[in-house]
Amino acid sequence: MRATLRNLSLRSLRVWQRDADVYFTTWKTEFLPPLLEPILYVLAFGLGLGQLIRHVEYGGRTLGYLEFMAPGIVAVAIMFWAFFESTFSSYVRMYYQKTFDAILATPLLVEDVILGELLWATSKSVIAATIMLGVLTALGLVAWPTGLWVVPIAFFGGLLFSAIGLLFTSMVKTISQFNVPMFTIIMPMFTFGGTFFPIDILPRWALTVAWCLPLTHVAFLTRSAILGFASPHLWVSAVYVVAASLVLAAWALARMKRRLVP
């Protein structure tokens, strides 16, 4: 592990740059999902579900459902973009395209490749969250300037979820095995991570479980930033997300290295 960390270098940005180049050559289509996603959600939830649930009690205030839910979709996007990039996309580059193999013939080391992939998956979360923040601002759903905190939250949240993704990339034998973490980890977080309803209405045991999930903390931070809420608990979640992202990233590095260098 120590050798792995010592081998980390800025050259990993070359790998990041490669992935970014591919992304930005098709930016018009790449930017579409994070632009349209919040609009779709806002339409569906605002026009549909919002009619049924008029108000939500949250943080001692009464919010419109849309106001409550909008930050949740940003948190979900942070999770999905990082996770998909570091699982399916990284796996395609590693296994089908042999992109890593090609890069490893150059002065870059395997650590550079893995860190580059982590940083790129993280960047996708940051890009998506930033675009969505713009859209939600235009819809009048963001408190400024606290909304800007979404960017660092997306960075550490993105790193956390890309590390989780890459851990699975280091283990799976076929690409379809990603369905396992997808439905045992990601989807439960999507539904129970404090995205669509305030989790304090859950029974006590479920509430405890929910607070163990990384997305719950990312959603709590994101929502507080977007709504401009302050709470002493924010520190707990911030420490959780930063610490978990660094620990999981180091673990993913070590696991991926073992997969790539037999």
Partner: protein
């Protein structure tokens, strides 16, 4: 630049690699002199690729040492890889980029300045005759074009050593000769080449020296012509539709006789007058007398059993 004058380009001592529950390479030692073209010859699974991948820092050796111009592959992989140009067995061109961008992105991994990469890329695309395909997607290229692009990519960092892992496997004769011509012209400029192949003709065409490897060990090495002379002599008699009397007759002569299915191979060693002898004694026997080749050496050393 690196190492002292007279240093080997590549030096390997007792290299071993065990992985996936088997010993792929079991104690391989060899030297490659600067400017030399050395071919690793061996059947599938012999350990050629594993050896080459240890030299090019893809796989850490289980034991043993390897240096490239005096630099240890284990402790200074970045420095070693800077001196190498690698053409892998499997095409790993970047399908997300077009032809030119493949080279530009690859040059960045070496930290070559942008303008310099572009100049080299243009020159190399001319060299491999892909200058008119700059904007083509990698998927649109034929197998031969892809290989040429891989070669151009391997030359981008102006390597001192070119490593070609089965450079022409699966190519048609035109494409194969196109690669050979370019490798020969590189050799003329003093580039050291280490290649693996199981095509004898390729080894004979390109290599100053071949290293025959099987079951993870080096069986023999030498200049192709010397190996042929030493191991099988100058001529081979191949016969078919033969009877016992003919086989027994050859068996009684000095030299080596081999019966494989319906074919008889006779290696007369130093015998020069075998043709006259056969004409006199068995004038109607169907046979061919040909020059011995590296393939005869190869089959003698590695046997005829199928490998996969």
């Amino acid at each position: 630049m690196n190492g002292l004058p007279g240093t080997s380009a590549i030096q390997a001592r007792d290299l071993c690699k065990a992985y996936a529950g088997m010993e792929a390479v079991r104690g391989v030692s060899f030297d490659v002199a600067p400017g030399e073209v050395v071919g690793f010859l061996g059947p599938n699974g012999a350990g050629k690729t594993t050896t080459v991948r240890m030299i090019s820092c893809f796989l850490p050796p289980t034991s043993g040492t390897a240096t490239v111009y005096g630099v240890d592959v284990r402790t200074s992989p970045r420095e070693v890889k800077r001196m190498l140009g690698v053409c892998p067995q499997e095409d790993n061109l970047d399908p997300d980029f077009d032809v030119l961008k493949n080279l530009l992105a690859y040059g960045r991994y070496f930290g070559i300045p942008g303008r310099e990469i572009r100049e080299r890329a243009e020159r190399l695309l001319d060299f491999v005759q892909l200058a008119d395909r700059k904007k083509s997607g990698v998927q649109e290229l034929s197998g031969g074009m892809k290989r040429r692009l891989v070669l151009a990519r391997a030359l981008l960092n102006e390597p001192r050593i070119l490593i070609l892992d089965e450079p022409t496997t699966g190519l048609d004769p035109q494409a194969r000769h196109a690669i050979w011509t370019r490798v020969r012209s590189l050799r003329a400029t003093g580039v050291t080449v280490l290649l693996t192949t199981h095509y004898m003709e390729e080894a004979a065409q390109l290599c100053d020296r071949v290293v025959v490897i099987d079951n993870g060990k080096i069986l023999m090495q030498g200049a192709p012509a010397d190996l042929v002379r030493r191991e099988v002599g100058s001529t081979v008699v191949e016969a078919w539709n033969f009877d016992r009397a003919f086989a027994d007759f050859l068996g009684a002569l000095p030299g080596r006789l081999e019966e494989v299915g319906d074919r008889l191979y006779y290696y007369p060693g130093a015998e020069d007058h075998v043709e006259r002898l056969l004409d006199e004694r068995f004038p109607h026997q169907e046979r061919l007398i040909r020059r011995a080749t590296l393939e005869d050496v190869f089959l003698k050393l590695t046997g005829r059993a199928l490998r996969d």
